[in-house]
């Protein structure tokens, strides 16, 4: 799990999520730091951007990933079943370039996009989802992209080798809190906290007993 932004009070998203405001009352505040980096600006089709530690961490998370796992509500903010014509937030050429496993209780046929991204819609618990994604990743790492409840489920099942959180200095007050139910999480990880001039703190948690070979981030 990389580049996952939370507020000072631990919320990974706000309240009142809509198609227009996918992070609810948090707006863009949790992700401004990322769109100030060179990689973040390139994602918006712009040049420039910072090239320091924020950039290094964002850039790293975009290399060596062979498959992505996400919850349904990252693929589509909203309630109820997916609209038939919904093809994700990211346009026709999504930034993944890999198989993407969307976890849902209502499986449906895959959607093949440009640039190597294919969305697969399966109903799997975390360990089986990881096994599926490892198989799809062809020896590369598997990235768990969120949202909050998906991250929590994978952390709770102890399936995460590398956790990189970004603490943004805002107090959201409400929304979905990452930390709930994760008491003692730090005992399984080596933890670093590094502040950068953009004002955020990168919290990197590295699993103490690494599995040999492929990793889950």
């Amino acid at each position: 799990m990389h580049d996952f932004s939370i507020s000072l009070d631990g919320f990974g998203t706000g309240e009142g999520l809509t198609q227009d405001q996918p992070f609810g009352h948090a707006g863009q505040r949790l992700h401004e730091w990322m769109f100030s980096t060179a990689t973040g600006r390139a994602m918006l089709g712009r040049g420039g951007g910072t090239r320091g530690v924020d950039e290094a961490l964002v850039a790293r998370s975009r290399h060596g990933i062979g498959a992505e796992i996400m919850g349904l509500r990252k693929f589509h903010t909203g309630t109820g079943p997916l609209p038939d014509d919904w093809r994700g937030w990211w346009g026709e050429d999504p930034p993944f370039g890999t198989p993407v496993l969307v976890l849902t209780h209502r499986p449906r046929p895959p959607i093949e996009m440009a640039g190597g991204t294919t969305f697969h819609f399966l109903d799997l618990p975390p360990a089986e989802a990881l096994a599926w994604a490892r198989d799809a990743a062809g020896g590369l790492d598997v990235h768990v992209g969120g949202g909050v409840s998906t991250l929590r489920a994978f952390l709770d099942a102890d399936l995460v080798d590398d956790l990189h959180l970004v603490v943004v200095p805002v107090v959201l007050g409400r929304g979905q809190r990452l930390w709930d139910g994760l008491e003692g999480l730090e005992r399984r990880f080596d933890v670093e906290q590094v502040a950068t001039p953009s004002g955020v703190v990168h919290v990197t948690m590295t699993r103490r007993e690494k599995r040999a070979g492929r990793r889950t981030a």
Copy 2:
């Protein structure tokens, strides 16, 4: 408010507080960083200790303070009325050296200790408590020492000029959470986050519109 330690998930104290474990299941984990500093070690009657940024922040918080405000449960962990013979946690020569206002619904006569500390037990809302403490502080700053609910009450009433939190990389999971009800707090402050080699992050929040003269920390 200075040197107030919280966990990654925002708890300022754990669950299950007792006389033997005043921070409950958190134990000493929230405060180890402080007792590694030169000032922290001196408080325990020991020499040595770090002399970097952790130390500078701890040392700063012990100068220029003319009065202390604390909640009853910082003065005495436990439920029900104060035992008649309870004189605080800090021995006969407490580290304050100033008037200390202990907020309680059951006022009682002051207790004069060695070294200039006198505990006063009054039933005052935050703004009146601050007025009392300012008067007692003789032109110096007023320090709000905790616990969590007392800090929240003063922040909620917008009575705080300087807030210094220390985020310790543990996930406590339960206890008393500082952030509840403080949505948007950062808008009133300039916020810095600085990580130090001890592994903690110092979050300093400085009120944007300073009152002239005396300050509340």
